[in-house]
């Protein structure tokens, strides 16, 4: 299971890459593995929207389940990954790079403080 050291993580299995005041958000290798074959990605936020942290920004549907993706850090949505509409399988193939979901211009970077680093995420206790 890949857990890149330079990223931040949430307990809902989202990853966050910080690029200045921009947060790039996706779901982790563990998350895509749990979901299995992903058949549909719907990004429910539009470019230009301002969302609070904790709001649903995407829905990922696999042959097994559908999962909400929550925005770990609030701010203005500056980009969404349109490529996932036609190629949802990218989330399985390359969750940390090609399958980024959304880019947010952070309103309050201190919201990052509550996020986990790679080591903490790796040792996260799972319910199952």
């Amino acid at each position: 299971m890949k857990i890149p050291a330079e990223l931040k993580y949430t307990k809902n299995d989202e990853w966050i890459r910080i690029e200045g005041d921009i947060a790039v958000i996706g779901i982790t290798d563990y998350a895509q593995d749990q979901l299995s074959d992903i058949v549909f990605v719907e990004i429910v936020a539009l470019e230009g929207d301002t969302l609070d942290s904790g709001e649903t920004c995407a829905v990922i549907e696999s042959v097994k389940a559908a999962a909400d993706v929550y925005l770990p850090v609030g701010g203005e949505i500056i980009a969404i990954n349109e490529a996932l509409m036609d190629s949802p399988e990218l989330v399985n193939e390359d969750p940390f790079d090609k399958a980024w979901l959304i880019k947010v211009k952070m309103a309050d970077p201190s919201q990052l403080d509550g996020l986990m680093d790679a080591d903490t995420y790796k040792n996260l206790e799972r319910d199952h």
Binding site: F40, E42, V44, L46, V59, E61, A65, A66
Partner: protein, 447 residues
């Protein structure tokens, strides 16, 4: 097995809501309404009840006994005997919802064929497995458009010449949702182009009927363009028989096509069950309510059918569902499939032409009666408005004395149109029946 609540269950429930006994729940009812004595006759035998019910039923007058010119959304078309024969096969009649492909191949294939026929007829990429009726289909179109823009566009432009019942269904469906519905208060004589100035950036959907409720046919090119210019969806409600000769709505770049499928081999039967047709472009398929059957191959490479798509919200994320419809109208969808298969492409074209020509013959003849007028330039399909010298209600009362079921009194839905009679003609209306109507009108209303 049906298991009613036990006495212990009831007591536990009453305790939770803080009520001592069941009767306390009905305290608000007036005493005279509680446990009234019902003055019912004693039970009678099957033979006797059949006799009594037949007697009551004989008070009905049906289009089989009368000459009928009534349409307004439900049409008296000929239904080939094979339709009913196939419908009544036990495998179809008793089949339950086809969640399990391993035991429901026949039903699933029938749905797949139905979808293919409706997609071909409307010219759209994809049709769902059907809705409960034209009204539901139209309301689901509004619902879909609203959710397509995630509630950010808060207005729909609705033509006043969409069937009044469907418009009523839209209002019922959308109550409680922050959505403004404009256009209905335009003059019913308005053409689709008159709706254009109502379309703005906040418009989610522009919805018209084609032919419209008054039977009129308009070119919808400009309206469709105007809707798309403001990034609104464009929805067209059709009469499926008319598409045997009219341009399909796809040629007006419709995003959604809905229809009432009753004319396709389904009896009028006092208003239902009917059939809601719903088709859309592929790009919107994920927002479509209902379900979709698809063709696939099984693990031996053999052709098979499955429920390919039903919006995930209906099953696993119900709190996020944009529609609560996850079923379809199986038996009437099958009827329309059999009906269209029997007719074929050329048969449907001939049928549409027959309806068109008979209706135009009727309109020409009725126009010759002094005081009665049909708009001579407005194109129409199999239904048209007759302007009458008296209120349409009085004309209908007179006609029924002659065993003629007149048209639809438009004053019932449009207070300004009390003198307008909506007259429908189908392939079942014979030339002699039309001539008879005209001679009755001439006799009753000569100077």
């Amino acid at each position: 097995m049906y298991t009613p609540h036990t006495e212990a269950d009831r007591e536990a429930m009453l305790k939770v809501i803080g009520v001592k006994e069941l009767d306390d729940l009905f305290q608000c009812l007036p005493d005279k309404g509680k446990y009234p004595t019902l003055d019912l006759p004693d039970g009678i035998s099957e033979m006797e009840i059949l006799d009594e019910l037949s007697y009551i039923a004989s008070a009905n007058e049906t289009p089989q006994e009368l000459i009928s010119f009534l349409g307004a959304g439900a049409y008296n078309h000929y239904i080939p005997a094979a339709v009913d024969n196939i419908l009544r096969r036990g495998e179809f009649l008793t089949a339950y919802t086809p969640y399990q492909p391993e035991i429901a191949q026949g039903t699933l294939q029938a749905i797949f064929e139905y979808q293919s026929l409706i997609a071909a007829l409307t010219g759209m990429d994809v049709a769902n497995a059907s809705h409960y009726g034209g009204g539901t289909a139209v309301a689901e179109a509004v619902n879909m458009a609203y959710h397509q823009f995630r509630g950010r566009k808060k207005k729909i432009v609705l033509s006043p010449s969409v069937h009044p019942h469907y418009r009523g269904t839209i209002h019922t469906y959308m109550q409680g949702i922050d959505l403004e519905i404009v256009g209905e208060d335009l003059d019913p004589e308005a053409s689709p182009d008159d709706l254009i100035e109502l379309i703005d950036e906040d418009t989610a959907l522009v919805l018209v009927q084609y032919p419209d409720f008054f039977g009129r046919i308009y070119d919808l090119t400009k309206l469709g363009e105007a809707a798309h210019e403001k990034k609104a969806l464009f929805s067209v409600h059709i009469n499926p028989i008319s598409l045997g000769m009219l341009k399909p709505p796809s040629e007006y770049d419709a995003d959604i096509v809905t229809g009432e499928g009753q004319p396709l081999g389904i009896p009028m039967s006092f208003g239902g069950p009917y059939l809601g047709l719903f088709a859309t472009k592929k790009q919107y398929v994920r927002k479509m309510a209902g379900r979709l059957a698809g063709e696939t191959v099984d693990n031996k490479g053999q052709r098979g059918y499955v429920l390919t798509l039903s919006t995930r919200e209906q099953h696993i994320r119900r709190e996020n569902a944009s529609s609560n419809i996850c079923s379809n109208q199986g038996l009437t969808a099958l009827a329309s499939t059999v009906y269209l298969s029997l007719l074929g492409k050329n048969g449907l074209k001939k049928l549409a032409e027959l309806n068109y020509h008979k209706a135009h013959y009727a309109a020409d003849k009725i126009s010759t009666v002094p005081g009665f007028m049909v708009n001579p330039v407005q194109p129409f399909f199999n239904e048209f408005v007759v302007h009458c010298p008296l209120p349409a209600a009085e004309i209908n009362e007179m006609l029924i004395q002659h065993d003629i079921l007149g048209g639809f009194d438009l004053g019932l839905d449009y207070p300004g149109l009390k003198h307008e009679l909506l007259v429908a003609v189908t392939e079942l209306t014979s030339r002699s029946e039309i001539d008879h109507l005209v001679s009755v009108l001439e006799e009753e209303y000569h100077d």
